[in-house]
Symmetry: C2
Subunit: 177 residues, 2 copies
């Protein structure tokens, strides 16, 4: 089964971005193997806000990774290399899983993350934690979803104090989704 | 200089307790060296809410560690093994540091932690992170303080997926407080 991996860089107080969306506090040290993670995924899902912030920061959406943007307001269709969809998270994940492929990267967007956690669609967490408290911002795990248990899969320290954590969702009784 | 160590157990989404104050989701595995930490401190500071929750859960405040409870409303004085003070965090830390001794454990209380971070009184973080998202609760780092940079001192994994993180505050230009 293709797994949904919620992968984000966060401050030590759990923010993916400052209140204005900027992510200047995040960094990726040279010894951090982002490439190894990228090889495990071929699809990305993000929220409309994260999509717009990415574009405004000069980001682009290429062909190596198929990117879906969840939006209730934007018209569905191709735009700037991404595919805008008006589906619910569960609908979209279901459709993506109809095809064979690698894992699915949930790239963030606080609201989208909460929806995915509420619908219990997150199979793994992949967190890069930078050693700074920023004091306010957009939370990686916005309040308002039921308890979700995980098991620690990996915990590594990298240069400049970045730690990388991998967790897998443990669903009692239910087994694999 | 006696250092202020903010030491708490937290969920993966950064809560020290559920909304009602309960901490049933926290655990301390047998291989976790809490005793080693306890040997480095001789003083504890906590907020009034944490104090009351501790007492209601059958906790007690003994003589090995001198415990101060910050409160604006309770009368100052000795009570249940702890010392209630009406000082500001900076006043209390200043008074404690007039005497020689070991480090000072800031035991939590979301509001108290925010005050300490706002006044830049936290010298170290000592976090035990349990592998569960609880979805709502009392945050370890409530929003509303300026950015505070740290360096990673220690990152260890323990059984049942607990990770233990130690960070030291890095104050540019200012050196030791």
């Amino acid at each position: 089964m293709r797994r949904v991996v919620y992968g984000v860089g966060i401050s030590l107080d759990g923010y993916i971005a400052r209140p204005d969306g900027s992510v200047d506090f995040l960094f990726m040290p040279k010894d951090y193997p982002m490439g190894a993670f990228m090889q495990t995924i071929d699809t990305a899902i993000l929220g409309r806000k994260t999509y717009e912030v990415s574009l405004s920061m000069g980001g682009s959406f290429g062909k190596e990774i198929k990117s879906y943007v969840l939006s209730r307001t934007m018209p569905a269709g191709e735009r700037s290399g991404a595919t805008i969809v008006n589906d619910s998270p569960a609908q979209l994940v279901g459709k993506v899983r109809e095809g064979a492929g690698k894992n699915i990267w949930l790239m963030g967007g606080g609201d989208v993350a909460r929806q995915f956690l509420e619908e219990d669609l997150v199979d793994e967490l992949y967190l890069g934690v930078v050693p700074v408290l920023i004091g306010s911002g957009i939370p990686a795990f916005p309040a308002g979803f039921p308890e979700r248990k995980f098991e620690l899969v990996e915990n590594k320290s990298f240069s400049r104090g970045l730690i990388s954590l991998r967790y897998a969702r443990t669903r009692e009784g239910g087994g694999e989704r």
